[in-house]
């Protein structure tokens, strides 16, 4: 079992599992930095994984799947900002509604398009670029480039949030919208940008999962959208800390697979529980206090 964990394959597995977590957590973070809570990351991932799979199947072209699915994600995030920013409805409740809506639409359309309640047909493997295939990540081009993007995103979001005018304004909107307004910042526009980036990143997470599996199946997101939110909280809304939190969750998920294969006798349900249990323990305060942006979830 120890060799199993120390191997390159295992590390690559961790990196692969890390990708959807980090994309989801980063998505939630951009939204919350602007003061908009989005607990519908799960739903965003479901709808974009489904749109990626179905558009790719119908057009035979993964790039139209990629762009189409990102467009769907952004469309839903615009709808989300209409409800939460324009109408100022409670963000949690809207989040619950969005999760139900997006999961429902995916299930319904899957039955309409593919006459199956469990999964879409699998789409053909997308060609792998020669220089990328030398890196030991198995998968297609879309999948591989998303993994690399997720790694770059750690640095990118750190810079974007802390070193740019946009990031400073986004944070000010999330911390103290009244003060931001008096400085001439268009609060609602920044909040909207936060949710749009959120929709974009979350849909990349969904796309990665579908492309990794070459299909969409019911329940494939399996609570990753929620774990992503947990990672954001444990990472205290800081891109680098979130990176480590996601890495930890990815480690446990990969460990679960190794344990299942090696038949170690440790029940997999207990390991499945770990990310959530850790989050609760962190929240109770074993790992220091977590503090969200001051105006998080408060409509403005």
């Amino acid at each position: 079992m120890i060799e199993g964990i120390l191997s390159i394959t295992f590390m690559m597995q961790v990196l692969r599992m890390f990708t959807p977590y980090y994309l989801g957590a980063s998505a939630a973070n951009f939204s919350e930095r602007g003061g908009v809570i989005n607990i519908a990351i799960e739903g965003f991932m479901i709808i974009s994984a489904f749109s990626y799979a179905s558009i790719t199947i119908f057009t035979g072209n993964p790039y139209s799947g990629l762009f189409g699915s990102v467009a769907v994600g952004i469309l839903f995030s615009l709808l989300y900002s209409f409800f939460t920013i324009k109408l100022k409805i409670n963000q949690i409740v809207i989040g619950v509604g969005f999760n139900l809506l997006m999961a429902g639409i995916a299930k319904f359309l899957m039955l309409m398009f593919f006459q199956s309640s469990s999964n879409t047909p699998s789409f053909t493997q997308v060609p792998v670029l020669p220089f990328l295939s030398s890196i030991p990540l198995v998968g297609d081009l879309t999948g591989d480039s998303i993994i690399i993007f997720a790694l770059i995103l750690v640095v990118l979001s750190q810079i974007l949030i802390y070193k740019t005018k946009f990031g400073l304004r986004l944070r000010s909107v999330g911390e103290n919208p009244e003060a931001a307004e008096t400085l001439g910042i268009k609060v609602r526009i920044y909040k909207m940008w936060g949710t749009i980036i959120c929709g974009f990143l979350a849909s990349l997470g969904g796309i990665w999962l579908a492309s990794n599996q070459n299909s969409f199946s019911d329940g494939m997101i399996a609570g990753r959208g929620y774990i992503a939110i947990a990672a954001m909280i444990i990472g205290k809304w800081k891109p680098v800390n979130i990176f480590f939190a996601c890495l930890m969750f990815a480690f446990f998920e990969s460990l679960e697979i190794v344990l299942q294969i090696s038949g170690s006798g440790i029940p997999s349900q207990l390991i499945q529980m770990l990310p959530y249990l850790i989050t609760i323990l962190v929240l109770i305060g074993f790992v220091g206090k977590t503090k969200p942006p001051a105006a998080d979830g408060v409509p403005y």
Partner: protein, 345 residues
Amino acid sequence: MSKNLKANILSISISLIATLFILFIFLFFVGRDPFFVMETMFTEVFGTGYGIGQALFKATPLIIVGCGLAFCFQASLFNIGAEGQLNLGVFGMSIVAYVFDDSLGLLVVPVAIICGFLLSAFWGLIPAYVKIKRGVSEVITTIMLNFISLALINYLLIEFLAVKSTVRTEKILDYVSIPQLSNYFEIFQGSSVNLTFIFAIILALVTHLIFYKTRFGYKLRAVGLNPKASKYLGINSDRMTVISFMIGAGITSLVGLNFVFGYKSYYEYGFSNNIGFTAIAVTLLAKNNPIGIIFTSLLFGVMDYGGLAVNTIVPKEIMLVFQALVILSILSFDRLVKIYYLKES
């Protein structure tokens, strides 16, 4: 009629019409005749006593969980964790019932119910405690606790308690059961609706009295409306958080009456089929009013069974979309009515 009541009726009716409208367009675009779908649904549900009975059977757990959630929502506590709470309670309930059904006789029913209630209440205590002590939003904790609860049950079932190669517990002895309504009303013949439905109605009425006619209910709503002001009224809002969370979570376990004692005689993993989330919609739609919850649950029950009835024409998953649309439209029209009719800012 007060202006607020008028506004409520206005927003509920507009949103139902809007939802139906969107649903019709949606059905039209996927190439189904919306009128035919609706017609089939109504004749299937209301045409036979069996159909009505099944709709009532589907509505029963929603009424119960809705009342539980209303306890939390009235105090402005967003309990997203009903799914985990009710599963744990019903699981415990069925285990106790199975272990003691022989030794305790019919007394096992109240004992099992109390155990289930306490288990669920304990699961509700955790988010309340974390909220009070650490100021962490109950939304996050309840979501996490849902996963923990289900994984824990799954673990206990598969490792110790399930009947071999199934995900259900052992059957409880036959005589420990809640009578079917068809025993008293011939018309419901064949459907699974049982006395729990009557119990659920009574529960809703009692909850209504508690909310609007007792000091406790007054305090609960005061905390929900304005926690700071209620402090000056001498209300201990921390205490109210704990009490409402525990009672609310505890009530959700009572769906076990319908499923375990009234229907299957065992706990089955996944029996709840997201009742905990659907009930959020039911409760919101009713504006946390228990009498309203009866009606919204009946609506969702009809939709639920109606979905099955039209499954040959259009996938029953259309009802998931419908339920989500109901939530979103009630929330937005509520807001719009507040702005344009009640002239609030």
